[in-house]
Structure formats: structure tokens, C-alpha cells
């Protein structure tokens, strides 16, 4: 819950306070954006543990570089860019590659409980969702990143394109291409008529 003293205060104002040494103001920024940062990191890495560490590193790095924030983008986009770069660095690390090799993400953290469904629906859908999850994790990283970030619904296409450092048109193409490939692969295993 955001403290009363910072409720309704804009991000730029909180950034300014944090620059002046107000840790509580930065804490409010952490609270406001921690979900978005964590989800972006989870989209890139696939495991909660890695996503938590990257989110923490991203906030600390953002605090240390607050002076570099120029406000030509929103604080959230700037913060997500930092988190995304850190997530990609971790994804390329040998340790992460080895762990993915030993334990694929779709079998680890990307398992989601069947909340809100009847038992029958859950049984019917579980297999399909398992296939989709597996195929998403097998997509090329660029396509998977675009699809997961766009599907999360946290940010606009403009913001996601800014985080990824690509034009919006490229982002849209990647999302559509990811869908097309997924449907083609699902058709091969008996789902749909693509």
C-alpha cells in the first residue's frame, strides 16, 4: 500500500525527491513498478528466482543512475529498459544456459494452476495449454519476447518497442509471426486447421 504522503504524486516528482536523497520516494517508485519489472524479467528468463534477482538489480541500478534519467521517456519505460538489459545479460550467462538445458522453463516456473475452471474444462484445456506453453518456449527468443511482453498487457506497443529498442512495426510483425508459427506447430499435433 502506497503511503499517504506519496499518494497522487507523479513519477517525475518522486524521481526528483529520490535524487535529493529521499529513499521513501524511491521506495514508492519500487512499489508502483515492481510488478511490471518483475513480469518483464519473467518473460525473458522464465523463472521466478531469476526474475526476482533481476528486478532487484534493476531497481538498484536505476537508483544509482537516477541522475541519467532525462524524462524524454516515462520513468517506467526507462526502468523497464534497464530491467530488460539485465534480464538479457542474465539469459546469456553460462549459468542460466546450463540451468535451462537441465530443466526447461516450461516444466519449471511456467506451470500455471487451473484456477477458475471446472474440472472438466481443466482436463480438456490442460493438454492444449501444455502444448502451447511448450511451443512458446521453443520460439526464437525475439519472437517469444515480443509475444510475452505484448500479451502481458502491462504496457502499450510503443512502450514495449521502446524497451526492446525496435520500431513498433517490427514489434507487431514479431507478435504476429510468433502467433503464426505457434498455430502452425499446434496444427501439426492436431489442433486447429492451419
Amino acid at each position: 500500500m502506497e503511503p499517504v504522503s506519496t499518494r497522487g504524486v507523479s513519477d517525475p516528482e518522486l524521481v526528483e525527491r529520490a535524487r535529493r536523497g529521499d529513499d521513501a520516494a524511491f521506495g514508492t517508485l519500487v512499489d508502483r513498478h515492481r510488478s511490471a519489472v518483475f513480469r518483464a524479467a519473467l518473460a525473458a528468463l522464465g523463472t521466478r528466482e531469476d526474475a526476482e534477482e533481476v528486478a532487484q538489480e534493476a531497481f538498484v541500478a536505476a537508483f544509482r543512475h537516477l541522475q541519467d534519467f532525462r524524462e524524454d521517456a516515462s520513468f517506467k519505460t526507462w526502468l523497464l529498459s534497464i530491467a530488460w538489459r539485465k534480464a538479457l545479460t542474465r539469459r546469456r550467462s553460462v549459468k542460466t544456459l546450463l540451468r535451462r538445458f537441465v530443466q526447461p522453463p516450461e516444466d519449471a516456473e511456467w506451470q500455471v494452476p487451473d484456477a477458475g475452471r471446472t474440472q472438466e474444462q481443466a482436463v480438456l484445456d490442460r493438454e492444449l495449454r501444455g502444448h502451447i506453453r511448450r511451443e512458446i518456449s521453443r520460439l526464437a527468443p525475439k519472437l517469444r519476447d515480443a509475444l510475452l511482453l505484448a500479451s502481458a498487457g502491462e504496457q502499450s506497443y510503443n512502450d514495449i518497442a521502446g524497451v526492446l529498442g525496435i520500431p513498433v512495426g517490427t514489434l507487431k510483425w514479431r507478435v504476429n509471426e510468433a502467433r503464426r508459427r505457434l498455430k502452425a506447430r499446434l496444427a501439426e499435433v492436431g489442433y486447429g486447421n492451419v
Binding site: R34, R64, W110, L128
Partner: protein, 201 residues
Amino acid sequence: MSDARLDAAIDAVAREMTDAEPSGALRARVLARIEEGRHRTSAGLPRWAWAGAAAGVVLFVAAAVWVAIPLRNQDAAQSTVAEQVAGAPPPAAASLERLAVQSDAVPPQSASPEGMPAAAGRTRLAAVRGVQAAEIGSEQGFHTVPALPAIEPLRLAAVEPAPLHVADMEISPITEMPSIEIRSLDPGSHDIQSTDPKKEK
């Protein structure tokens, strides 16, 4: 399965894959790390300073080694020569000493017998004394390299070598050679191979 349902399923799964919340302690951990970093920075030098200091130490050691190795080699060479001569001054020093004595003997404003001007001789004398001082210093465990004055160009008078005197000599006569007998070769002998293979055929 319809295309729309497949799209919806993909959307749902993709959303689920990132639909998670970080632990509630994230804020506390972030602020703790910021505080920790603040203490670390204020308590000691920042990381880049340590890196710079380490690089400086490495450079210093490298420079010291670079300077010390030639000096050590020079010391080793000098001590070897000294051991070989067993107390006698090294040849280079001896010749320099002779040169110094000669220069001392030359009166000012006069040319040396070899055609060397007196001023140049004095300059060389100073250089010789500097080298000798450096040698004395090295014997005492330190090396002092004195500043050397500018050395004037060396001028030599025309060289007139003494006439060559050849003493009388006598070449002894060649003794008589005894006869030797060479055995003739057979016509079909293959002991000697012709240089032209066609002739052999």
C-alpha cells in the same frame, strides 16, 4: 479447433506465463541494498578506485622489473669480468684510464699526437671520470649515472703508416716426386658410370 479459439488460448497461456507477482520483500531488499552500497562507498574507496590502484601497482611493478633487469645484467657482467681478471681493472676501464692520463698530459691549447683537439680530450676526460665514478658507485651498491657533457666531434689527422719492411726469405725447393702405377680398366667394366646414359646403351 477454430482459429479464434486457438488465438484466445495462445493469449491466455502467454499472459499466464508472465502473470506473477514478486515477493513482498522486494522494496525492503532494494532499499537495503541501496543503503549497503551507500555505506560501502562512504566507508572506503569505490570499486573503480580499487581497480585503478591495482592497475597502477601492476604498472609500477612492470616498470621496476623493466628497469632492474638491465642493471642486474650489467652488475653480473662487471662482477664476472672482475672475477676473471682477479683484481686487475677491466680492460675498458684500463683503456679509458690510459686515455685520461694521456689527456691530462696534453697541455691546453695544443693538439694531441693523434690529432685530437685538447678541448675534445678534456670532454672525454670528464666522461671517463664520470664512468669511473659510476663504477665506484656500483661497487658500493648503488648506481649513479652522472650527467655527461656534450662530446665534441672526434677529428683525426691524416694517417701515414710506416713503410713496410720485408725481411729476406728463402723458399725451399720442391722435392722430387716418385713414380706411381695406375691399373688399366677393363672395357666392360661398370665401375665407372658415364654421365651420358645414352652412351651406355
